[in-house]
Amino acid sequence: MSGSRLSSGGLIDRSTPVSFQWLGRTLDGYRGDTLASALLANGVGIVGRSFKLHRPRGIYGSGTEEPNAIIDLSWGERHDPSARATLVDLLPGMQARGVNAWPSVEHDLFGLLDRAHRFLPAGFYYKTFIAPRWHTYESTVRRLAGIGRAREIADPLAYETRHAHCDILIIGGGPAGLAAARAAAAGGLKIILADERTHWGGSLLWHDGEIEDRPAHEWIAATVTALEAAGTVQLMPRTTAFGYYDHNSVGLIERRATAPDGWAEERLWHVHAKRVILATGAIERPLVFPDNDRPGVMSAAAVLHYIRQYAVLPGRNAVIVTNNDSAYETAVALHSAGAAVTVADLRDSMGGAAKRAADHGIKVMTGTAVLGVSGSRGVKGVALGPPDATSLQQATLKLDADLIAISGGWSPAVHLFSQSGGKLRYDAACAAFVPIAPREAQHLGGAVTGSGDLTSALDGGHRAGIEAAAALGRSVATTAPHTTSAPAETPIGAHWRIPIPEARQWVDFQNDVTVNDIALAARENYASVEHLKRYTTLGMAHDQGKTSNINGLALLAEFTGRPIESTGTTTFRPPYVPVSIGALVGLKHGPLYSPKRILPLHATHASLGASFCDYGGWMRPACYPKTGESIADAVAREALAARNQAGLFDGSSLGKIEIFGPDAAAFLNLIYYNEVANLRPGHLRYCLLLQETGIVYDDGVVARLASDRYLLSPSSSHTTGVLSILELWHQTEYPQLRVWFHDVTNAWATFAVSGPRSRDIVERLSTDIDVSDAALPHMTLARGMIEGVPGRIARVSFTGERSYEISVSTGYAAALWQRLRDIGARYGITPFGVETLSTLRAEKGYILIGVDSDGMTLPGDLGMKGPETKKVVDFIGRRSLFTPEARRPDRRQLIGLRASSVLPVGAHAFERQGNDARSTGWVTTSVMSPTVGRPIALAMIESGRERVGQKIEIFDQGRIMEATVVAPCFYDPAGERLRG
């Protein structure tokens, strides 16, 4: 291959040379080049290797359809292990190399695989790597497989996500998209116009044409200026619509190499549009013929694109092979640029386009196909002959060539249309699938509808713009831009392969899928397109079938003896182009991945040396280690302080839901497992909330503040869930009950003073609440003034010690905390964290829902069977407690375990059955108890309560331990310390 730069023309900036590196060599291009155009201009032929057979690959296309030029690209801190050279705007200092080759794409030792191609047909790995087992080969195959290597460092790029709402989203900024925008903008509607390229104009960047009596590029510039001036049109170049989701929400990816007005290099847009106009154009298909994968075989439209936009001549000795009129413009352009050109037209007769090319002095051969290509590292020559040849011997002419420009027709880019649920039809007139029935509020214009010429693109786009505006109640009176360009005169002659049986003819270039692979798959009865795709990997490469899909379907149809229309297409799914994971993540990583809630006194806890952990989305102190103190030592110290003097705990994250209304008692009684209607005002009760399946969902304390007013305290992480349950049952099951809910969690700060000296501290607060045991016994609550502000004091304990929960408005949290520490100093008050509380509650056998219980735990399993038999209203889950499953005698039950060492949480209890063993349950909580001075554990064990006193065996990761089953309470089982 011998690409070179033309001395004039193109949209490149010749005054700004750009140096870059290819395989370590420094090459030069210009600003305005893509990496692909710069490589071609420098005569680079081999840019990659195919995936399976490691055959040399050259640049084929000029856009998203590129199947070959997969590049490992570095510049500055940035790295892209699988960039496509055709989509990379050239920047100074870029370092590029091909992938999937060793040592390099030019000299790839794995290229030897190609010699073994007979043994590597479609699905070979399903048949080959069987004995003795796949794992024998796996590591070798995995090393050979894969395209590009990701760096193992954090991505230095910045990404962000934006939402946008508009009246009309227009996808595609070619002639149809611009005509649509021009028409719709006249209606004064809010429009977003997106195009994947840097320059507006789509195919007009490389096609000749006149619009409104001036050169197309002048019309484009004037149209874009007018759209900008309208003020209602958001123009988004370098932006690809990659996914079309429900109800006209469309995902766009905006690439901003220089991030001009912000810091994000890539932006993900969620666009919500009232109407969408698809002007996505069409993609040129390759022709399928022997050796059509040689470097130097290029899309004819891409060759034209390189000449016109980049002033790059991809070859000097060109053969054009085509089955339609569109490639003749390429022939004329190559000829005008000084290349020798021969056209092989698969069709039998000379059409108007062919005759005009011949008038330029171009040799046109009709009824002619390529039967073979020589030059394993780049095209050297072609053998031409009849399209129905069954042997290379039928070649009638051999020509020297360094470029073969091919056109197999145009496939409308129906990807987004199909993603949105639109239906397709095979249109034999253009030999492609075309859209018929949109499902969304959508309009189409231009080549995506199957019409290839400029007149229909402008008319179709214009009509789509008018229709979209009309659907939104705006009538637009403008006329379509007029053009003199003539439509194609001679129809396409569909042609899918050369019938030479032994020839290797590529359908999917990157994945090495040939005609014979498709024939093999059809013989092996992979007759569905979806099966064909997965068996042969057809269309599963970077271009996702943009070049190979239709050719593959047509061949499958032929080999299975069906018409193409009944073969159908594979399902089009997002994304249309690869989208970087970073763009999908946006800002949701690091601390923003899952933002944490913090306590009102977070800073105070930090200044006390708290070690913070995430508990159900809340950052809370685990404990407060002193300098040099381990976590375990800190927990033990804090626990003993709470047992022997007084502890201070910040329980502000504990849920607080207020429920009020005349039917509050009746409603809550239908919700909670425990009886709450008979609770007297000022009293508290520990209650369970079940799911309708009977499974325990949450536990918490229900307080009755007044006859029509309750306060629930769900677990910190279940507050939202409990509120949702209340709303659901009230709105759907009991709407007649007059009751209201309000989550006041954030309004109140709550501190627990716990321990034998707690009353001494609380009674020294300035308060009108009588905290004597007579006035405020265990499980009661009183409201009053505390240190001059309204508050509540509740006698409730999560530690097993006498405890007072004091709540004040969050704004007074800091003052109350400091006051309690000041008063408590002489009683040895010690702040303690969640880990310490967890140890204290374990000593008492108080459960944590979701830790000691799981998705199978019924209240009876936890030893709380009372309400099940006594309560008569149909509370949530009641009926489920009377099923055969719920009444099985061997259900797992909560018990305690005593052992000589700390048992691992999750370790299984088991019983031996001959040489076998069976799990009977597992350890749910296990700590070294500072209070009782030995290891303690809670466990859920089958028929556990019957086993109290028995020794059982515990298994964990190969280790067997012994434990004794005991009642699930290791400290003060009578509860004397609670009541004082």
């Binding site: 989701y245 429900d246 929400s249 919500h272 709303e727 055969p884």
Partner: protein, 87 residues
């Protein structure tokens, strides 16, 4: 993303809503009079219809109100939205 017209707040994105399953499941009561098979059917058996589907949604990221939506499970087209108890 579905665009859902909350009967209280107006059109909002699907990510503000929570799906609540098939609408019209009637809770059999009183519990003591219901046999195991009927209770199991109430808990676990759904029609799972293809096409027109009456289902519950909650505007959990907004007004927290539950409502009934008639959605086509094939096309995701929303035919109707009703407040609870007012068809």
């Amino acid at each position: 993303m579905l665009k859902i017209d909350c009967p209280w707040c107006g059109p909002r994105g699907e990510n503000e809503f929570t799906y609540g399953g098939e609408a019209g499941t009637v809770r059999p009561i009183p519990a003591t009079a219901i046999d195991d098979a009927i209770w199991a059917r109430y808990l676990y058996i759904r029609r799972n219809e293809k096409g027109a589907h009456r289902e519950l949604w909650c505007h959990s990221g907004g007004c927290k109100q539950w409502f009934v939506m008639l959605r086509d499970t094939v096309t995701h087209a929303i035919a109707a939205i009703e407040k609870i108890g007012s068809p």
